[in-house]
């Protein structure tokens, strides 16, 4: 009866929400308020994939869903609700039968990195992907090591037997496997999730959590410049200095600690960026043997619509997850080749030159900003850059702007950058930050009131227009430029 009511309420509220154009997590919230333990009463599918981490959760889960659907799986995905418990509840109850059977063979749930530990207490994942850990929303998240601690609790909550898919290039993510684990040959880590399991591991009967690693090859990637801070300088486990063989971006790269055993594991699935738009995926030999696949070549080419280092990780992570649930790398590649992301981070702008773009980069996330700014100057085209900060978050209020000082705006001190427009409510904070940068101050224009943005752009803009802002300010930007959505 409880299950029936919860499912009924959730489906009804969801249907009504759709009618008024709202896809929210309210239905799940209401159902959980009435029946807090209802998720435990559902009959869940065998395959539950959780996706968490700082950046790329939504994009990567879209890619995972794409691959699984193309390979005949019936997938449920919380793409429209929140990524906290209510969002997951909305998804599961909405697609459940009135008797509580969730009518999908696979669930992909995007989980907030801080709340994953609570979600997993209600819904245990079978596969857990951690995309990366970066400075992100520090006003809410504290700092990456705090999030890492939360994720360690999440892994414990997921329990033994969960398969981890981890970013080999990110030392903070690798630390997750390190804390309670034992590094073995070939980068396989047998995680001991609790004390009793630890005892088991000493015996010959381990029931370990298997880890598969994904990463990006340094081939064809120019060494990144050092930004305003280096989160790879010290080992997240023991705080000794870290040594890097190479870097991909920020603290991603091939690292080893000068004191403890933390080091990059050889990835099971690796992506190499080739000429523009193509990436090569390879999986290491032992993995192929394990899968007993007859892949003609260990290296598979894949065309990416929006090539970037960030997307290289997203694609690689998706393929690694798909592999973990039994889809071969070659089948994943077929499904992803030339795929156009719907929730893309790059949107073309019908202003200025034909290749003007809006690069969505989360506020409070210097890593995302640095990636966007690097990408802009790498285009080596005369351009105008708009940086807009009006509402720092769409979810909560803050006027905290320290994160602007973590962004490497010196990147824009480039001859191709002809004009920079700083805009939005925080224009003075931006202006003060830019006054401390290497950027030629005469190139900068200031627009506090967004109604003046279009005129300012007409007067001063030249070349391609690249706008850098957050989802929270996307609508305002498009409106200010008279672009219909």
């Amino acid at each position: 009866m409880k299950v029936f009511l919860a499912v009924f309420i959730c489906k009804t509220l969801y249907f009504l929400g759709k009618r008024v154009g709202k896809g929210s997590s309210l239905p799940g919230k209401v159902a959980l308020r009435l029946f807090p333990d209802v998720l435990g009463c559902l009959s869940l599918p065998d395959m539950i994939i959780a996706v968490t981490g700082s950046n790329g959760k939504t994009t990567t889960s879209e890619l995972i869903v794409r691959v699984l659907k193309a390979n005949g799986r019936n997938v449920g995905w919380n793409y429209e609700g929140s990524n906290q418990t209510e969002g997951v509840a909305t998804l599961l109850l909405r697609i459940a039968s009135f008797s509580g059977k969730v009518k999908r063979d696979t669930i992909v749930m995007v989980c907030d990195e801080r709340y994953a530990k609570w979600i997993f207490k209600k819904v245990r994942p079978t596969v857990l992907l951690v995309t990366n850990l970066c400075r992100d929303q520090l006003t809410r998240n504290g700092h990456p090591e705090f999030v890492e601690d939360c994720l360690r609790e999440a892994i414990e909550a997921a329990g033994e037997g969960v398969q981890l898919v981890l970013n080999a290039d990110d030392p903070y993510v690798a630390a997750l496997a390190f804390w309670s684990g034992e590094t073995q040959d070939r980068g396989t880590v047998h995680l001991s999730c609790n004390k009793s399991l630890q005892t088991k591991l000493r015996t010959d009967e381990p029931s370990p959590c298997l880890v598969s690693w994904f990463g990006v090859s340094p081939d064809n990637i120019a060494p990144p410049r050092m930004g305003m801070y280096d989160d790879g300088a010290f080992c997240p486990v023991c705080k000794a200095r870290m040594v890097y063989k190479y870097r991909i971006a920020g603290h991603y790269g091939s690292y080893s600690c000068s004191s403890c055993r933390l080091k990059r594991n050889e990835p099971d699935v690796e992506v190499a960026i080739q000429d523009r738009g193509t990436v090569h995926l390879s999986c290491n030999k032992s993995l192929q043997t394990k899968l007993r696949t007859d892949e003609p070549s260990p290296c598979l080419a894949l065309k990416i619509k929006q090539p970037s280092i960030t997307n290289a990780y997203n694609y690689c992570a998706a393929v690694a997850v798909a592999e973990a649930v039994g889809v071969s790398v070659s089948d994943s590649v077929k499904a992803l080749d030339n795929y156009e992301l719907t929730g893309g981070r790059v949107i073309s702008l019908p202003v200025g030159g034909s290749d003007s773009l809006l690069l969505l980069s989360k506020h409070e996330n210097s890593f995302a900003y640095d990636c966007s700014l690097s990408w802009i100057v790498q285009q080596k085209k005369p351009c105008t850059v708009i940086v807009l900060v009006d509402a720092i978050s769409r979810k909560y209020y803050t006027s905290e702007t320290s994160w602007l000082w973590d962004i490497d705006f010196d990147l824009l001190a480039d001859d191709n950058v002809k004009c920079i427009i700083l805009a939005g409510r925080y224009v003075n904070e931006l202006a003060a930050r830019f006054a401390m940068s290497a950027v030629d101050q005469t190139k900068i224009k200031y627009v506090a009131d967004l109604s003046g943005l279009s005129v300012c752009l007409d007067r001063n803009g030249s070349g391609s227009i690249y706008a850098v802002t957050c989802f929270s300010d996307k609508t305002k930007l498009l409106k200010a430029l008279y672009i219909k959505q």
Binding site: L138, H143, S402, W405
Partner: protein
């Protein structure tokens, strides 16, 4: 006021810039450098980190920023070598700013979220207990040594500081914030410590002037950068933040 054509040399000692730097803390040193250059000083920034030989004797100002809880302990392990000389410098009224959890280093101890007690430098009679929760909040502060208000953001581990010492900041969180009105920070001679994180000297022109006054005294040289717009933007940003907090 002395008008002076010769440059006054100022050395800023910037401690652990690569370890204690979570929230754009470098902005504090950059802003102070700007302000001192504006006043006609020649500024040298001496960056020192884990394992380096640190020369405290010839510095006019010391800055240290915020770190993760693990970084804070690593910082303590390294800085302990200089406990005596650092105490001596602070007693000699050399100005110093410690933002975020770095000011906890000057207390007696930090007890981490696992319950382990770590001895700190013991300059002042307080100690910190950290929890595995997080306090993050925009706030407006009244300041015991300035007439102007100070704005900023607190980002710290949950928990509390025990000890009956004078607190320089009375914190007024925004309405509805999950953080009570309280006092915080440490002020001893010219040393200031606060849970306010990030570039607090950028966000608070009065605090920037306060330190520049102590460091440069009444010295005003032939200024080379009178047209620096940084100060104008900084002031405007401060005023708009005051209006909303």
């Amino acid at each position: 006021m002395n008008k002076n054509n010769t440059l006054k040399k100022i050395k800023i000692l910037y401690l652990y810039p690569d370890l204690m730097n979570l929230y754009g803390d470098w902005g504090n040193v950059a802003a102070l450098e700007r302000e001192l250059v504006y006043r006609g000083c020649e500024v040298i920034i001496d960056r020192k980190s884990v394992g380096d030989d640190i020369d405290f004797d010839n510095s006019d100002f010391t800055y240290i920023g915020s770190g993760t809880e693990r970084s804070q302990l690593a910082c303590m392990r390294d800085l302990m070598r200089y406990k005596d000389v650092l105490t001596e410098r602070i007693n000699a009224e050399v100005p110093m700013l410690a933002t975020g959890n770095s000011h906890e280093l000057f207390g007696q101890a930090v007890t981490d979220s696992g319950g382990v007690r770590h001895e700190m430098m013991g300059l002042l009679d307080f100690e910190t207990v950290q929890l595995n929760t997080r306090i993050t909040e925009d706030c407006l502060c009244e300041c015991s040594f300035l007439t102007d208000k100070v704005i900023g953001f607190i980002n710290r581990a949950g928990g509390e500081q025990k000890g009956d010492i004078e607190r320089p900041f009375s914190v007024f969180p925004r309405e509805g914030a999950g953080y009570p009105a309280c006092t915080e920070g440490i002020k001893y001679k010219n040393q200031l410590g606060t849970y306010l994180t990030g570039p607090v000297l950028v966000r608070n022109p009065p605090l920037l002037s306060y330190f520049a006054d102590i460091i440069a005294g009444e010295f005003v040289g032939e200024s080379i950068k009178r047209d620096d717009m940084f100060f104008e933007y900084q002031q405007k940003a401060y005023e708009s933040a005051l209006a909303v907090l």
